[in-house]
């Protein structure tokens, strides 16, 4: 029905200004529509009682830019998650106090994720926010140092008390959990703006041909490959272009002195983490948020699997893959076009096959990926908050 309507409109309007429109089938149209609308609905994190709280967002923003959480007093969250670099760092692999093995992921749209980090070792944004504070190669801080910072700083302690409605806890670990929750509340506000793809997708949903024609033909052709022959939408699903799960994509996982075990190690770290959702700091009394943590399966195939990242603003977040080994989107497309199935896990999923794209098709796919960049930031300008008063 949709196709018939669009077909009739295409016939009558194809002489108009703008790009030619591809005659997307009904199935293609449904697949395209599933990547929106944007922004997607979102609800507060039940495991974090200050999720969505304005006071927590302010405290979290302060802590995000506070180097005193690090052992050197010089590394802050924003060292790797740089606001003007789409909240990542543009480096192949992160560097805080020392080199690490993994690429820094953008924080844009992080609120939609189920698991956090390339290996999903974090089951909540607040638990994940604690991790780099304690990681020796990133911020190198400690539980005691973080707690002492809050207790010893009148502004931070005042804000902490207002956010959580109680005096700063005596237990250091509880203070660090609170810091993580405030950091998470801030990061939940980091949202991608709408992209040319979103405008096309919404125009398609209302059969608005003149608006659809503003979307370049190359991007349309790339979109057709993405949802069709490329099968990219198997993992990059929905409005956030990610299924939030883990896959072996044939990217080498050897690192200096060993291997990066990816999801396999991530599940083990998750289970050992005091701050996981099965622990005492989960604010979700109903407990449904912890089902994923309780039921996650550890399989041999998880070795070398890494999380499917969101593709929103992907053109702004080079380099790519878990180890930052691919410098450009063209290289990423070439990787999937020429992928060697022999390099994939022998007992893993049978999903990836070499696409054998022509040069033109590769360029079209890149054009589509570039069309996922926001046209304007969705982030409101930040104003300095007034000092906290008890």
């Amino acid at each position: 029905m949709i196709r018939a309507l669009l077909g009739a409109l295409l016939l009558c309007c194809s002489a108009g200004a703008g790009a030619q429109l591809l005659d997307f089938t009904d199935a293609e149209t449904r697949a395209i529509l599933r990547h929106g609308p944007w922004p997607a609905p979102w609800s507060r994190d039940p495991s974090n009682r200050v999720s969505g709280s304005a006071a927590a967002i302010e405290l979290g923003e302060r802590m995000f830019f506070d180097p005193r959480l690090s052992s050197s007093g010089q590394v802050l969250c924003a060292t790797c998650h740089v606001p003007y670099r789409a909240w990542q760092d543009g480096r192949a692999r992160a560097f805080g106090l020392a080199d690490t093995e993994r690429n820094t992921q953008s924080l844009l749209d992080v609120r939609y994720q189920r698991w956090f980090g390339w290996d999903g070792a974090g089951d909540s944004l607040w638990a994940q926010s604690v991790r780099p504070i304690l990681e020796p190669r990133e911020m190198g801080g400690s539980v005691a140092q973080a707690a002492a910072l809050v207790r010893g700083d009148a502004e931070l302690s005042c804000r902490f008390e207002k956010v959580f409605g109680a005096p700063v806890p005596a237990a250091d670990e509880a203070v660090l959990a609170g810091i993580g929750k405030a950091l998470a509340a801030f990061q939940e506000t980091l949202l991608s703006g709408r992209s040319p793809f979103d405008e096309f997708r919404d125009a398609l949903s209302r059969s608005d041909l003149s608006s659809m024609k503003k979307y370049p033909e190359a991007a349309q052709r790339g979109l057709r490959i993405f949802i069709g022959r490329g099968n990219c939408g198997a993992c990059h699903v929905g409005p956030a272009f990610s299924n939030g799960e883990f896959h072996d994509t044939g990217v080498p996982f050897f690192v200096a002195g060993g291997v990066d075990s990816g999801r396999h190690g991530g599940i083990r770290k998750l289970r050992a983490n005091t701050f996981n959702l099965l622990g005492a700091y989960n604010d979700d009394r109903g407990g449904s948020s912890a089902v994923k943590t309780r039921q996650v399966a550890e399989e041999h195939r998880n070795f070398g699997e890494f999380k499917s990242p969101s593709l929103r603003n992907v053109a702004r977040t080079a380099p790519y893959m878990h180890n930052g080994s691919l410098a450009t989107l063209a290289e990423v497309v070439r990787h999937y076009s020429e992928i060697n199935p022999d390099r994939l896990h022998s007992d893993g999923e049978a999903l990836l096959k070499p696409l054998r794209l022509s040069a033109g098709e590769s360029a079209d796919l890149v054009a589509f990926l570039e069309s996922l960049s926001e046209s304007a930031s969705a982030l409101a300008p930040r104003r300095p908050a007034a000092s906290c008063r008890r």
Partner: protein
């Protein structure tokens, strides 16, 4: 005396020895969204009641299953509630119902 085994409304799947019905909550399964599955199983005449129930799902074409192990809680009268379900890809999924010595399957397509 045991209550008669009745199947509630739901998707019905049968073999020679057992009949089951299941429903998911929510009814429509979405990619990447957790759901609960409720199951009722009735042995047919002469067949034994399943003592062990194991539930799972897989994507045969992709050669993989879920990334989660389902927790099954037995209720009364051959009914079970299970949680931990999450289909992480679009396409054809196959529910696998292991009920004692019987294995029943049912396919669904998720978009």
């Amino acid at each position: 005396m045991a209550a008669a085994c009745e199947l509630p409304p739901g998707v019905r799947v049968e073999s020679d020895r057992i009949a089951l019905s299941y429903r998911t909550i929510p009814a429509s399964i979405e990619v990447g969204k957790p759901f609960v599955l409720e199951l009722a199983a009735c042995p047919k005449k002469g067949a034994a009641v399943a003592e062990r129930v194991k539930l799972d799902a897989r994507m045969p074409e992709h050669r993989h299953g879920m990334n989660y192990r389902v927790k099954v809680v037995p209720l009364a009268n051959g009914r079970y509630r299970s949680e931990g379900w999450l289909f992480h890809m679009p396409g054809r999924w196959e529910f696998v119902f292991d009920l004692g010595t019987e294995r029943l399957t049912h396919s669904v397509r998720i978009e």
